[in-house]
């Protein structure tokens, strides 16, 4: 019982971190250009580093 009382909130807290991360990524515009993002991963643009 006590174990559950601790573990469930911990699990929920971890889940909430995931949710917050998603909401943050949404807000910071990471889903604005899904088409472009899919192509960018294929491009070699490392030369200027």
């Amino acid at each position: 019982m006590t174990g559950l009382l601790i573990l469930i909130p911990v699990a929920l807290f971890l889940g909430a971190i995931g949710l917050a991360a998603f909401l943050w990524s949404l807000r910071s515009g990471q889903y604005d250009d899904l088409e472009g993002a899919a192509w960018r991963i294929l491009q070699d643009d490392d030369e200027d580093k």
């Binding site: 009382l5 929920l12 889940g15 909430a16 995931g18 949404l26 250009d33 088409e35 472009g36 192509w39």
Partner: protein, 759 residues
């Protein structure tokens, strides 16, 4: 009307001009001394071009970063204040071959779309999080957690569910409240009622340490419904942003002459009395009267007439027509709201308002569904009470009915189909502006086509004489090289097709209103209208365009042209007729030209010389007679009829106002897009109906069980998920058929078309 910028405007792209104060509107501050602007670049549609554009812009002095948004065809650029100017960016892009202009999301309603979208997505995320966690807790309860442990789990569930319902349910609560305020019932009323009652009941049960609690049902329900809502939104937003991209390149201006000085003025700042210089190839920005110069103007977007009209000092010209052969100075007589064009826009708005409101399939169903659900729930409550089961058990049964009938499969049934269907059409270059248009396309029984620019390309083709000596064609083509006249262009294309090199002609001069003259060796060459080459007037109008050619003193030859049909035009008309759709032709062109085309295509009903008002009246008369009219047109003169039609389609090469008025816009040349759109619409309508049958069939099975009190939260959860998954899977069938379509080959470079508007 399809002069691509390449054939029409050999000088390339004229960059959009940003006036000093004007620029401030688009620029935002993103940090100390750092400015940011978003430029719309419709040509940047290919992923391979992304690095090139970014590198070129980033190489400009002062530019901090440039990033392409491929979905929106935009480039966001940041630069250090004072070290770069937005105009440089636009000029650089123009030099690379991309037309660009500043992008303001407010202008097109895209900002609101974006906000709505992220609000729905946030609600969806919250509901998904809650549903997942509650489901985990519920599984423990279902697999045998008892007494204090169960109560603990229920309390945790309540803790998650209540805030989640309050947050994620808002879109439904708002919509239901709005409907009730207008004394209407929509699908959101039973949803909201079900969710709110369930939540209240859940709390009561939790407090009373009951065995069965419907937490997961309430939250999963919201999750599925929000998914449906988000899909619906996605489809509308996608279509709208595509149309907005087409629209936004149309902002135009004019070169105003003030004494010796010339300056650029945006179209909206033009005033009557100003003198505008209109170069050959430009569009008239406002109505006016010609002061100086002679030229031929192309009025096909206004009147549907393919032949050019000659104007000289004193002639009236209208906004939207194109000046083809010679430079003109025009005194503006009307601008903005006073122009002929603005009059048509008002006519269009009136036609739109006059249209009876179309009620979507889902809403029609909701009219019966919601009362039925509420009656069933009330009957359950009454029945259980009458059988002496006490308030508590009776209420629980009634709420179980409300939850089980909650239309989550229904809420997904149509949006899922429409998203898949519009995605399928989108890949083929057809953009549907909203779901209603898709439903309407499926029930069309009459199709009315405009002629010039819709059935034809507005691009003449040499049809007679069949046999021309290579030398003659080479000479004529040599003269034609110097002109922008569409018939000259057609001669050049013909010469190129036959592999004939145009001859080098000396001393070419263009005489607007007549034609071209030049010398070859000792002979004088003339190319132009009949009078120019010494021919008498035609005895009979056969609906062909003509260009006469004379060499020296010899008898002139007459080249005759016909407006070239769009690919698949005949096949499309035949396919529509085969489906029992009544096809009609409605054009502003001359009788002979219209009749000739009608005969070629096998259309019986053709009307010529129709004014915009006559077109509108014709469509409205058919609508009153109960016909469901699909209007297909491109011109400014078609816009009121497009707005009045039951539904409408326009090619992307259409006038801006035509594209705005039409509910569906297709890219590419082929007319096969019309049949494809009708096909997909019919199929999606069929699948939507199947989905409704599935969803309602599931209710038929589940409701009696719920009324008898046999539904536990576990059964509710399983039933709800399976019916939703079935409906979505059924909708996905629509995307499976990947028949290659002719129109699809065009969609990679649709952005080439709107550029014509600025050319």
């Amino acid at each position: 009307m399809t002069f691509t910028c390449c054939s029409f405007d050999p000088e390339g792209i004229r960059p959009f001009l940003l006036a000093g104060e004007e620029a401030e509107r688009w620029v935002s501050d993103v940090g100390p001394g750092i400015k940011r602007i978003e430029l719309l670049v419709p040509g940047a549609g290919r992923a391979a071009l992304m690095p090139e554009i970014e590198a070129e812009l980033a190489a400009l002095p002062g530019v901090v970063a440039a990033r392409v948004n491929l979905t929106g065809r935009r480039v966001a650029v940041t630069w250090r204040e004072g070290e770069a100017e937005p105009q440089h960016l636009i000029d650089r892009l123009a030099a690379m071959g991309y037309a660009a202009r500043p992008f303001d999301p407010r202008e097109t309603g895209l900002l609101k779309d974006g906000r709505d979208g992220s609000r729905l997505l946030r609600a969806l995320a919250v509901a998904g999080f809650a549903a997942g966690n509650i489901m985990l807790l519920s599984v423990s309860v279902w697999s045998g957690a008892e007494a204090a442990t169960r109560d603990l789990f229920h309390w945790f569930s309540a803790l998650i569910a209540l805030p989640a319902v309050a947050y994620a349910g808002r879109p439904f609560f708002h919509s239901a409240a709005a409907a009730l305020r207008q004394a209407r019932v929509n699908m959101d009323v039973p949803i909201s009622l079900g969710v709110v009652l369930a939540s209240a009941m859940i709390m009561f049960e939790t407090i009373n340490q009951a065995e069965h609690v419907y937490f997961d049902a309430a939250v999963t329900l919201l999750f599925f419904l929000l998914a449906g809502r988000y899909l619906d939104h996605l489809m509308r937003a996608r279509a709208r942003s595509a149309v907005a991209q087409l629209m936004s390149l149309s902002a135009e201006g004019a070169v105003i002459v003030e004494g010796e000085a010339r300056r650029c003025v945006a179209a909206r700042d033009l005033r009557p009395g100003m003198i505008a210089a209109i170069a050959a190839g430009d569009r008239f920005p406002a109505d006016g009267r010609v002061r100086e110069g002679v030229s031929d103007i192309d009025r096909s977007l206004m009147t549907g007439e393919a032949a050019l009209e000659t104007v000289e000092a004193g002639s009236e010209v209208h906004a939207g027509t194109i000046n083809v052969t010679g430079p003109l100075t025009v005194e503006i007589t009307a601008a903005g709201a006073d122009t002929f064009l603005a009059g048509l826009v008002r006519l269009m708005a009136a036609a739109e308002q006059g249209q009876s409101r179309y009620i979507r399939l889902a809403d029609r169903l909701a009219r019966f569904y919601s009362p039925a659900v509420h009656v069933l729930a009330a009957a359950t409550l009454a029945g259980w009470l009458l059988l002496g089961n006490g308030w508590h058990a009776s209420l629980m049964a009634a709420i179980a009915v409300l939850i089980i009938t909650c239309p989550c499969a229904l809420g997904l049934a149509v949006p899922a189909v429409q998203v898949v269907a519009s995605g399928r059409l989108f890949r083929s270059g057809i953009m549907i502006k909203d779901g209603a248009a898709l439903e309407k396309l499926a029930s069309v029984d009459t199709a009315i086509f405009d002629k010039t620019g819709t059935l034809t390309r507005g691009e003449p083709e040499l049809v007679a004489p069949r046999q021309v000596a290579a030398e003659t064609l080479a000479l004529a083509a040599g003269l034609a090289q110097a002109s922008r006249h569409p018939l000259s262009r057609a001669l050049l294309r013909e010469a190129e097709r036959r592999g004939i090199r145009p001859a080098a002609i000396d001393a070419i001069s263009e005489h607007p209103g007549f034609g071209l003259a030049g010398t070859w060796g000792s002979a004088e060459l003339r190319l132009g209208n009949r009078a120019w080459c010494g021919l008498g007037a035609a005895t009979q109008d056969e609906g062909l365009l003509e260009f006469a050619f004379r060499k020296g003193a010899k008898e002139a030859i007459l080249f005759r042209f016909q407006d070239r049909l769009r690919p698949e035009a005949a096949a499309t008309i035949a396919a529509l007729q085969a489906r029992g759709i009544d096809v009609q032709l409605l054009s502003g062109d001359r009788e002979a030209a219209v009749q000739r085309l009608a005969e070629t295509l096998g259309v019986d009903h053709a009307i010529a010389r129709a004014t915009p008002q006559a077109k509108l009246a014709h469509v409205e008369a058919l609508a009153r007679a109960g016909r469901k009219v699909l209007m297909v047109g491109d011109g400014i003169n078609d816009a009121p009829a497009l707005a009045a039609g039951f539904t409408s389609m326009a090619p992307a090469s259409a006038s801006d106002i035509g594209r705005t008025a039409a509910q569906t816009v297709w890219m590419g040349d082929s007319l096969a897009a019309v049949t494809l759109a009708l096909d997909v619409a019919a199929k999606s309508q069929r699948i939507a109906r199947q989905n409704f049958a599935l969803a309602i069939g599931y209710n038929f099975l589940a409701v009696p069980l719920a009324m008898l009190g046999l539904v536990s939260p576990l059964i509710a959860a399983i039933a709800m998920s399976t019916s939703s998954i079935m409906v979505v899977a059924n909708a996905l069938r629509l995307g499976l058929s990947r028949k290659p379509v002719a129109a699809g080959t065009e969609h990679e470079r649709p952005a080439a078309h709107p550029m014509r508007q600025t050319a």
